[in-house]
């Protein structure tokens, strides 16, 4: 299985690579469109500011490549947010894969949210062997309000969609690579997704 982590200059990519290695797989970093298209699994990370991350994607042409991918894609944190229609952060137009607009937490809670919070309303094979209410590690100031693509929910001042799914695209607001055993299970589930998706479609 070929696993590619999209490398466009954003984020703590090393940790994701290591987390995949701990599961017994190897992942390659790449910004090459062909290599990304040919991967069996694609991970789209992202840490930092939405506007500048989107500019980096556009300058490499990857903004055109990602929405056309056919294999399972997992957006993590800002990666997931960039897969939405729009983000308030930097007034940024996203990739339009998920039908949602990203908003900033209001000041009734501390921003950023940093730490371990629960995922509930789990509704995807991505969460096989994960119990409702398990804890994951989150660091973010912007969130996806509850939407139709939701496959997991978290509460922080408001209920919001902490994981999304549409077709072959998945997104998680939390960091599975930093979420202890729960995160490892979720990453493992993602890496095993394809066969199941195919049989589901038959």
């Amino acid at each position: 299985m070929k696993i590619v982590i999209i490398d466009y200059g954003a984020g703590n990519i090393q940790s994701i690579k290591f987390a995949i290695k701990r599961l017994g797989y190897e992942a390659d970093l790449s910004s090459d469109a062909e290599e990304i298209r040919n991967a069996d699994k694609v991970i789209f990370p992202g840490v930092g500011e939405a506007g500048s991350a989107m500019r980096m994607l556009r300058s490499t042409g990857l903004d055109k490549v990602i929405p056309t991918l056919k294999h399972p894609v997992l957006g993590i944190c800002l990666g997931m947010q960039l897969m939405c229609n729009y983000s308030e952060e930097g007034d940024t137009k996203g990739l339009g894969i998920f039908d949602a607009d990203v908003k900033r937490f209001d000041n009734s809670v501390k921003v950023p949210q940093i730490g371990w919070n629960q995922i509930t309303n789990l509704d995807s094979h991505l969460f096989d062997h994960v119990e409702n209410g398990e804890y994951v590690y989150l660091v973010h100031s912007y969130y996806v309000p509850e939407c139709a693509d939701e496959i997991a929910r978290t509460e922080y001042g408001v209920n919001y969609s902490t994981a999304l799914h549409r077709g072959n695209f998945y997104g998680v607001q939390f960091h599975p690579e930093k979420s202890s055993k729960t995160g490892e299970q979720i990453l493992k589930n993602f890496l095993k997704l394809e066969l199941r998706t195919k049989s589901d479609e038959v």
Binding site: S15, G48, K110, G115, Y137, V139, H140
Partner: protein
């Protein structure tokens, strides 16, 4: 619900943990990687590595250590100690650190906070503040609390937030090492006046102190070293008692 975090702090010198650590089940308690993995297994929510070495090789040794820790650890970790430039931070984040903590360098060059949060995002910028209560006024201190400044703790904390810090790690020099509890009044005021998470540090001696700093001090996280290293407090016992007291924790 977002939980309160428990953060063991490891002092590092030349790539090894310094303070005597009483972990009899470890093959090598001086090995930061093995110690970090043990803490993750015991339920620590995060770890802080504070590098206190002062050699010319420091940068290289620390980068290598960060890479080794990132390879093994499945929880987040912060690296601090002598970080003074965007380049320093770039190297540490590229090697797998989740956050960096800056202290004296932020006071000497406050613009560093802006530069770091612009380039890497505020989520990875922790500003550590050491302060001492002098005649009723909390004054910021440098160099591990040895050098006083004219800066007021609360004013400096607000400036730090405005400049883009994602979190504040506040150590009370009056409480550090006393094992008499955290500086909860100052902590609560920080939490009320600011809108970013506050990590309490300095003074942990027993489980009640943690409960107090979350309830009275309104802290979002609590950091400690010796009580964990010498097994005076087991993280599992601590979390169970906090849970019983109605404080949200990850168990």
């Amino acid at each position: 619900m977002l939980t309160k975090r428990i953060i063991p702090c490891l002092d590092i010198k030349n790539g090894r943990t310094v303070k005597g650590v009483n972990f009899i089940d470890l093959r090598d308690a001086g090995d930061p990687v093995e110690l970090a993995a043990a803490y993750a297994e015991k339920g620590a929510d995060e770890l802080v590595f504070l590098d206190i070495s002062a050699t010319e090789e420091k940068r290289k040794t620390l980068a290598k250590l960060v890479l080794d820790v990132a390879e093994q650890l499945n929880i987040p970790f912060t690296v601090g100690g002598g970080i003074s430039s965007v380049e320093d931070v770039d190297i540490l984040l590229k090697n797998g650190a989740d956050k960096v903590s800056i202290n004296s360098s932020a006071v000497k060059n406050p613009d560093l906070i802006n530069q770091l949060s612009d380039k890497f995002g505020s989520q990875c910028v922790v500003v550590a503040i050491d302060a001492k209560n002098i005649d009723g006024k909390w004054k910021v201190h440098l160099v591990g609390g040895k050098v006083p400044t004219d800066l007021d703790l609360f004013e400096w904390a607000k400036e730090v937030e405005l400049r883009g810090a994602g979190e504040i790690l506040f150590t009370s020099m009056d409480h550090d090492g006393t094992k008499n509890g955290f500086a909860n009044e100052a902590l609560a005021r920080l939490s009320e006046e600011l809108n970013i998470p506050i990590i309490a540090s300095g003074g942990a001696g027993n489980i009640q102190h943690f409960q107090d700093t979350f309830q009275k001090g309104k802290a979002d996280a609590a950091l400690a070293a010796s009580v964990f290293h010498f097994k005076e407090i087991e993280i599992s016992d601590l979390k169970n008692q906090l849970k019983t007291a109605g404080i949200p924790v990850r168990i």
